[in-house]
């Protein structure tokens, strides 16, 4: 590893963070958009380079200021973090490139520079969580990304975003505080914040009450931030009333980053040290995952607002990821982790397309999107493709997740069949809620004063890029699968 390559883990965070401070100096607003997009694209390039390094060999570690861990702050990039970095920076870049018209329509011109600054801060925070190998730094970056996303969500013209974001803020803060309490308790007992070090030292005190309490606090706190059912109630409104492009970005990656921390903490630190934690983890998460899948899909079937519909679908999809993880097998974890990637592809594309629809429709409800398929045939086509991926039709990325998840459930034998049934029933529910939208868009009555809006070519292109990736990674899923397999093996390597 030469030259710049070894500094990439730090640059992954530093580039967007430093840039976010300077974006506010850029006027006119077009320049701010261009700069933000360029920085995001640069982060994406860094993530790609990191992924290539990770797939080529051993995980990358980086000691800040050359202070070695556990004394200094360490950054670490392995397969799991690489996968998430790709999702975060990729979603941000694609959304930003296409976002200009939508952001112009939704955010006042004089506030846009702050909006772009917050966007980059969110990218930096999310990336920071993923590269940190240190429990406290994860908290710091979690706060940075959360605060930035509160700003982003509240930035839209819809005043209902304010109560929504307030709810998110309260819930998010509770989650982060729980996490911090847990980390504090562990620090009290072990005297370390470095995850690898913690893993070693916790063994001696693993039967102590504070550690058990810490495990509870951390798992619940992170589940709250990850919107694991039934701690999801902040999510639908936050997604619904956020500016459309923010929804596209955050829906692809925000909750998944918390899931990432949850997996990392539980598998690296707790699983092998705490008596019976493996069982508790599975017994606690699996029912919640199943409930999340079924309830989320069921609510989505009857929802009238398209963004909220997709938000409830996200609750179900988070359930898929958790279900895979709660199987505690290589196949299950692979399926869950690869779904982090595949769901981001599908949901990102869907929300981008909704953003395009919103340019013409007065609101995103079933009654108001009639005829949009004729007005925006290209956008609608991409929407259908991404919808098929969400359903899990073969040839799309969503199918790859379902295939692995069902395969992993079948490994359990007869009890696994119940899980297979859950997965299939929820897939059928997805058919229902996606096809409701398709029918409304194709056959619904178009309003008389349907505005003649052309979707900006950049946005259509990006929507299609996102939709096509669903097909590409449905037919050639080697990259995400390889990363997921490796990540699953690494997580399981920490379980006795």
């Amino acid at each position: 590893m030469t030259g710049l390559d070894q500094h990439l883990p730090a640059l992954q965070v530093a580039v967007p963070m430093v840039a976010s401070a300077f974006v506010v100096l850029l006027n006119p607003k077009g320049l701010a958009w261009a700069a933000t997009t360029a920085v995001s694209a640069m982060s994406f390039a860094i993530a790609i380079q990191l992924t290539m390094l990770v797939t080529a060999g051993t995980p990358l570690t980086y000691a800040m200021g050359s202070w070695p861990a556990p004394f200094g702050i360490a950054l670490e990039v392995d397969s799991l973090s690489a996968l998430l970095l790709l999702v975060i920076t990729g979603a941000s870049t694609i959304a930003l490139i296409g976002a200009r018209a939508s952001i112009d329509a939704q955010i006042a011109a004089d506030r846009q520079i702050y909006f772009y600054s917050a966007w980059l801060l969110a990218v930096a925070g999310l990336a920071g969580i993923v590269v940190s190998a240190d429990a406290f730094n994860i908290f710091v970056f979690m706060e940075i990304s959360s605060l930035a996303s509160y700003v982003l969500i509240a930035g839209g013209p819809d005043r209902r975003a304010l109560p929504a974001v307030f709810k998110y803020l309260i819930m998010g803060t509770i989650g982060a505080t729980f996490y911090l309490i847990g980390v504090g308790l562990i620090y009290m007992m072990t005297g370390t914040l470095n995850l690898a070090d913690m893993e070693l030292r916790i063994a001696g005190v693993s039967d102590q009450r504070p550690i058990l309490a810490a495990a509870g606090f951390i798992t619940v706190g992170l589940a709250l931030k990850a919107a694991v059912f039934p701690l999801h109630i902040w999510l639908p409104n936050a997604y619904t009333y956020a500016p459309h492009m923010v929804t596209a970005f955050l829906a692809a990656c925000a909750t998944k980053v918390s899931l990432y921390v949850l997996l990392r903490f539980d598998f690296f630190v707790f699983q092998q040290n705490l008596d019976g934690h493996t069982f508790q983890f599975a017994a606690y998460l699996m029912p919640l995952a199943i409930l999340g899948i079924l309830v989320g899909s069921a609510v989505a079937m009857f929802e009238g607002n398209l963004k909220r519909l997709l938000a409830f679908s996200s609750v179900a999809q988070i359930g898929y990821i958790m279900l895979g993880a709660s199987l505690l097998s290589a196949a299950g974890l692979t399926a869950g982790i690869v779904h982090i990637f595949n769901h981001a592809l599908a949901k990102g594309a869907l929300f981008l397309a909704l953003g395009a629809f919103a340019l013409a429709c007065t609101s995103l409800r079933f009654e108001t999107i009639g005829g949009i398929a004729r007005a925006m045939p290209w956008t609608f086509g991409a929407f259908v493709l991404a919808g098929l991926s969400l359903i899990g039709v073969p040839g799309t990325a969503g199918f790859i997740s379902k295939w692995h998840l069902i395969g992993a459930a079948m490994e359990l034998g007869p009890p696994g069949l119940a899980l297979v049934a859950v997965i299939l029933i929820s897939s059928l529910m997805a058919v229902v809620y996606i096809w409701r939208i398709v029918e409304a868009a194709c056959f619904g009555a178009a309003p008389a004063d349907f505005p003649d809006v052309r979707v900006p070519p950049l946005l259509v292109t990006m929507i299609w890029v996102a939709a096509i990736t669903n097909i590409v990674f449905g037919l050639v899923p080697d990259l995400p699968l390889e990363l997921s397999r490796d990540a699953a093996a690494s997580l399981l390597g920490h379980v006795k």
Binding site: V393, I406, G407, L424, L428, W435, L475
Partner: protein, 489 residues
């Protein structure tokens, strides 16, 4: 071109055709129709060029990609698929001629979309016919469902949308809910989903699990329309008649029974399934469907719905024949796909022609129509006779083989079903023929009409001729299947 390249060409040509149809559709309707006909002709030419290789025992194969370890997108042409592909691609030419007459005669809207989706559907059908493993087959199976949705919902009014919802919902629900787990199960226990003569499951599963897996496959392949997953087929009748004719009498439904046959022959293996008592339910389910669908057909007043229920029954002939698990019956199953296709497409063409010329859809309106539309009703009569299985029509040939196969195993249930259903077929088709030719019109039409536009009449005359032709010249098709099931005799 090598046979391998021909396979790829057969998949790509209809897609290129679809793009060209979309482009020319904006310029000129005649040009667009010319593109459709050229594409159909090219596809048939390509497919027929693969036939000699398969006839000589060759099994040209291509693997495009390995999606996951052991899970590939691959194609291999074997006799049953060859027959299906040749059938669908050849009838597409005739159907396109018919469509021109029908769509223009009816002043249908969105004709470009219609022809585009038709071409895409044919590409999917070719993918199903040539697929070399379950995953590839499933990929194109779902593609066919989705590609036909815009054709079924073509009219776009509330009733049509509702029926199209049943169509899509039932086909997707069965395929995702039952077919997909069956496929994953198969890959799980066998480590592969490749179609291998003699099956891949022997020794991998046993006992009741075999029967259960067969349940998942047969009902998961909703396109085979074994009761109770047949309701999508009557619902699909809201589509324009050319769609009902080619897709819902040939390509889509035959894709269903084709899949069931392939699963029995190449996944389970005929001998393995024969040795497993838990698979015995299939013949009962198929027999029940044949009889029940025929009884329902007897009560229909709408011509297209009657034909739909007749199709449900005829499809289960194929399933039942395959389930007899004897070589002669398997040959009968493959041949019946062809024989029924010729007869049923003729019947649908006739029904569509009547609609275009006279705007009549109900049975009681057909009194005396034979005098106004003699060619159409002549073709209809031939098609009806083929459904009943009267010589000299194609339907007789396949029934002969299915019966011979049933006698090989002394399967009296199958024999009784065939006899009873022949009587029922006669009971619902012959009154129509009688009404059309020998009864007088009770209300004269508002304005006198003759035959439908000539392209439609030409098309139905050709398929009627094919129905009779298949009785006389069925040697090559039989020989092809005989090679597969009885060795080169």
């Amino acid at each position: 071109m090598t046979p391998e390249n021909l396979i790829i060409a057969a998949l790509i040509v209809p897609l290129i055709g679809a793009v060209l149809i979309a482009l020319t559709g904006r310029i000129n309707a005649n040009l667009r129709e010319a593109v459709t006909l050229t594409t159909a002709g090219t596809l048939a030419y390509i497919v027929w060029n693969i036939v000699p290789t398969v006839f000589e025992g060759g099994r040209p194969a291509v693997t495009l990609a390995e999606v996951m370890p052991g899970v590939t997108i691959g194609f291999e042409v074997e006799p049953i698929g060859m027959l299906f592909a040749a059938l669908a691609s050849s009838l597409w030419i005739i159907n396109s001629i018919y469509s021109i007459g029908y769509m223009r005669g009816n002043n249908e809207k969105h004709q470009t979309r219609f022809y585009v989706m038709f071409a895409v559907s044919l590409a999917a059908a070719m993918g199903i016919a040539f697929s070399s493993n379950l995953f590839t087959l499933f990929l194109f199976y779902e593609a066919l469902t989705l590609a036909t949705y815009p054709l079924v919902s073509h009219k776009g009014d509330a009733d049509t949308v509702k029926s199209a919802r049943v169509y899509l919902g039932l086909l997707l629900a069965t395929s995702i809910g039952l077919f997909l787990p069956a496929i994953i199960w198969t890959y799980g226990v066998a480590g592969t989903g490749d179609f291998v003569l003699g099956g891949i499951l022997e020794g991998k599963i046993a006992g009741p699990a075999v029967g259960l897996l067969l349940v998942l496959f047969v009902f998961g392949v909703g396109k085979a329309a074994v009761m109770p997953v047949h309701r999508w087929l009557p619902a699909a009748m809201v589509a324009p008649t050319p769609v009902s004719a080619l897709l819902h009498a040939v390509a889509v439904v035959k894709a269903g029974v084709f899949t069931v046959t392939k699963v029995i022959v190449y996944i389970f293996g005929v001998d393995f399934l024969f040795s497993e008592p838990s698979s015995g339910w299939l013949i009962y389910a198929a027999s029940f469907t044949i009889i029940a669908a025929s009884v329902v057909a007897l009560r229909q007043q709408n011509l297209k719905r009657l034909l739909a229920y007749s199709t449900v029954a005829q499809l289960s002939y194929v399933v039942m024949a395959a389930a007899i698990l004897k070589p002669l019956a398997e040959i009968g199953a493959s041949i019946h796909m062809v024989a029924h296709a010729f007869g049923k497409i003729t019947l649908f063409f006739a029904a569509g022609a009547i609609y275009v010329a006279a705007h009549k859809t109900e049975l009681f309106q057909l009194k005396g129509i034979g005098r106004r539309m003699p060619i159409t009703m002549g073709a209809f009569t031939i098609g009806a006779l083929s459904m009943i299985g009267v010589p000299p029509t194609g339907g007789f040939v396949s029934k002969w083989y299915i019966l011979a196969g049933a006698f090989q195993d002394d399967n009296y249930l199958a024999i009784a079903t065939i006899i009873l259903s022949t009587a029922l077929n006669a009971a619902y088709f012959l009154p129509i023929v009688y009404m059309a030719w020998f009864m007088r019109e009770d209300v004269p039409p508002e304005k006198p009409h003759g035959e439908a536009p000539w392209p439609s009449v030409l098309a139905l005359a050709i398929t009627a001729a094919l129905t009779i032709g298949f009785f006389l010249f069925n040697g090559p098709a039989l020989e092809l299947e005989r090679q597969l099931f009885m060795g080169t005799s």
